[in-house]
């Protein structure tokens, strides 16, 4: 078997992408650029806020999913690597279940939910995946349904 095409992707396939520790520096650095709300960037204001301390931007939590997904794909053995992929039409049902605080390590995993053939794009299929991030105790912190186009096996 060479690279994995759309036809090779089985519903229910699970994969652990990897883990990432959110340092306070990384949380504040991301938030200063993209989500400068007080509870992401200002310790004192965060302590007085609803959250009682600094928490990561939800967009940071989800951007780290992509970082780990790309790293995981590139480190996969050649025979398990997906064919051309990476472009996505969007995502659904994103939930930030619990705040992410400095020092927390999240482990990200994926499970294939659905594969859809596309009449409009015969060379591509759409794969829907449940993505989860859990803390060290296994508590669900973030989840969403990702969507990605995956190349179909070339016809001979």
């Amino acid at each position: 078997m060479s690279v994995r095409y759309f036809e090779d992707i089985a519903i229910g396939t699970k994969q652990v992408l990897g883990s990432y520790t959110f340092t306070e520096d990384a949380i504040m650095d991301f938030a200063r650029k993209y989500d400068p709300q007080p509870f992401h960037i200002d310790r004192e204001a965060a302590a007085r806020s609803f959250y009682g301390g600094i928490i990561a931007s939800g967009w940071h939590t989800i951007a780290v999913f992509m970082k780990l997904a790309v790293a995981s794909r590139e480190s996969a053995p050649a025979d398990q690597r997906r064919a051309a992929a990476g472009v996505s039409p969007g995502f659904e049902n994103l939930l930030w279940h619990k705040p992410v605080r400095p020092g927390m390590t999240l482990t990200y995993s994926t499970c294939v939910l659905e594969t859809v053939e596309l009449k409009s794009r015969p060379e591509w299929g759409l794969v829907k995946t449940r993505i989860e991030a859990r803390d060290a105790d296994g508590t669900l912190i973030m989840s969403f349904t990702g969507k990605g186009f995956v190349q179909r096996r070339p016809r001979k």
């Binding site: 967009w59 951007a63 970082k67």
Partner: protein, 150 residues
């Protein structure tokens, strides 16, 4: 268009907000991609030409992040926000390229007070436009807002 609503009680269904003027640069597209989404179509102009996107384009997660910045700098930076609960639906409809200028139009679709806590949910649709008046991204999201009162 409304100015500076702070509390849940200041919002109403159908209310619209427009904000932002975010100039996207090639350097920022590449910097974000290097850190979070290092795929050729976000990093390399030549490789991007041959990709599905047809040219160097911002990561979808970068578009989300830039949109958040536009929204935070607009009305919600001043509102008593408690952050968001999540996103029901997000669609990346057009590639975002270097030199694009993004702005956001938001509309309140639904308002639900919390049954017990001094909070409310405002379900909103954010349309992210580029300078060609195309919707580059659509997000449907509920946000929390604090209710006014003792």
């Amino acid at each position: 268009m409304s100015s500076e609503p702070r509390y849940f009680e200041d919002f109403h269904i159908g209310q619209r907000f427009a904000f932002g003027h975010y100039e996207v640069t090639k350097a920022e597209i590449i910097a974000f991609a290097k850190e979070f989404d290092p795929q050729p179509h976000h990093l390399d102009e030549e490789a991007a030409k041959h990709s599905m996107l047809g040219g160097l384009s911002a990561s979808g997660w970068h578009i989300c992040a830039m949109t958040m910045r536009i929204v935070v700098d607009g009305v919600f930076g001043k509102a008593e926000s408690r952050g968001g609960a999540g996103v029901e639906d997000c669609r990346w409809l057009k590639p975002v390229r270097p030199s694009d200028v993004l702005r956001v139009e938001a509309e309140i679709l639904e308002l639900t007070p919390h049954p017990r806590k001094p909070l409310g949910f405002a379900r909103m649709q954010w349309n992210v436009f580029n300078q060609r008046e195309q919707v580059a991204m659509m997000i449907n999201t509920p946000i929390f807002a604090r209710r006014d009162g003792p």
